[in-house]
């Protein structure tokens, strides 16, 4: 029998990008830019005999969160693995640039929400995709410099891999679930290059243990760990006050923190080793306990480890 809480709470992981947007924003407040009826699609997929999508897997627009305007972009992880490509990238960059330009005007937004769900660059249009990632990073930083927080919400089927992980790391905040994964190199790519003994991509427990939300939250790679339902994402997106400063002091502190992290845990082979070295109780059990128990344990470690 399906537990009550699952039956009544839609899962972020199972939802489409459009359903996620509807669940995060105030009901009925979303206005899409370059919607499907505009038919702004990839010109490249036909060459590979692949069906396009009317929105190229990237939905961008404006809406309200508690009555305050926000800009929002959502990747559809089920279409081509939620890839960064020429058209989808341009839509995202355009949204971010508009958000940065809006600062201080009557059109300003209180935050940009990035609902990332991506395996990285779309290989069929890889050069354009790589350019899109770097343009996105630059645009995210411009938004932050304009004083507008950029919040990454990660809990989809594709996770945030490749360029998606780099974009996430440039955001003001990263909100994650257990299933949301962040890693520059995906499990299959590691296995292909280094062999299954290095990383077995079919071992889901290993993939989640290493790249999943629990590992990232404990190591300071994510600011917030939440349950995987849509309502928890909305609650996390609402909490957008006091974003970390985007200045040289923050960057220097982050560099020091990352150097220390590498020094302390760089020789570890799996996350329970790291958790044991962090003196967390029952390190082997951390991937097994339920979300409520994990959130309690995370709080006991001193709470929010700022990803920045």
């Amino acid at each position: 029998m399906i537990p009550q809480d699952i039956a009544h709470e839609p899962s972020w992981y199972e939802s489409s990008a459009r359903a996620r947007i509807d669940g995060v924003l105030d009901p009925g407040s979303f206005t899409e830019l370059l919607g499907p009826q505009c038919r702004i699609m990839s010109p490249h997929l036909a060459l590979f005999d692949l069906p396009p999508a009317f929105d190229d897997g990237m939905i961008v627009g404006r809406g309200l969160l508690d009555g305050h305007p926000v800009a929002v972009a959502a990747q559809e992880g089920q279409f081509m693995g939620g890839t960064f490509a020429e058209v989808s990238g341009a839509k995202l960059v355009g949204l971010l640039r508009a958000a940065a330009a809006s600062a201080g005007t009557s059109q300003t937004v209180s935050a940009v929400l990035l609902l990332l769900d991506t395996g990285g660059v779309r290989l069929q249009e890889a050069n354009a995709g790589e350019l899109a990632v770097s343009e996105t990073i630059r645009a995210v930083l411009a938004v932050r410099q304009a004083g507008i927080p950029v919040i990454a919400l990660i809990g989809g089927r594709a996770g945030a891999f490749g360029g998606g992980s780099l974009v996430a790391s440039c955001c003001s905040r990263i909100v994650m679930t257990e299933q949301g994964r962040i890693s520059v190199t995906g499990p299959e790519v590691i296995e292909t290059n280094k062999g299954a003994e290095e990383f077995d991509s079919r071992d889901r427990a290993l993939v989640w243990r290493v790249t999943g939300g629990r590992s990232r939250a404990l190591l300071g790679g994510a600011d917030r760990y939440i349950r995987g339902d849509v309502a928890s994402f909305r609650a996390a997106a609402r909490d957008r006050a006091n974003p970390p400063a985007f200045d040289i002091d923050t960057m220097r502190a982050e560099q020091v923190r990352l150097e220390k992290r590498l020094e302390r845990y760089g020789d570890c082979h799996d996350t329970p080793e790291i958790w044991a070295r962090m003196n967390l109780p029952d390190p082997a059990g951390i991937s097994e306990i339920d979300d409520a128990a994990f959130i309690e344990r995370l709080a006991a470690t001193g709470g929010a480890h700022d990803a920045r």
Binding site: S16, R18, G35, P36, Q37, A46, D49, L50, P51, P52, A53, F54, D55, G57, E76, Q78, F79, M80
Partner: protein, 104 residues
Amino acid sequence: METFTIRAQAPRPLPGTRAQAIVGVVASGNLEILLERTGETDAVEITVETASHGYRTVWEAVIADFVARSSPGGIRLSIHDNGARPDTVMLRLMQGTNVLEKQP
């Protein structure tokens, strides 16, 4: 890719005021359908772009059934299909007209 357009006459125009809707996702075994009102009364136009070649007769049968059941008069449907089964196609088509009819 195989692309073709199927035209039909519906018994009645589709009720409701919503101008357009999109349902589904171009994922494996799935499809997306963009529905738009054309301003006509009974004409239905369905453009299919599919990754699976050679199933036009199956599409025609599913669409004939759909037009008879949902009567989507005055609607243009544009489909991107990634190998959805006929039952999935039927459900998506009916989901699409339902959204256009019932949602503001």
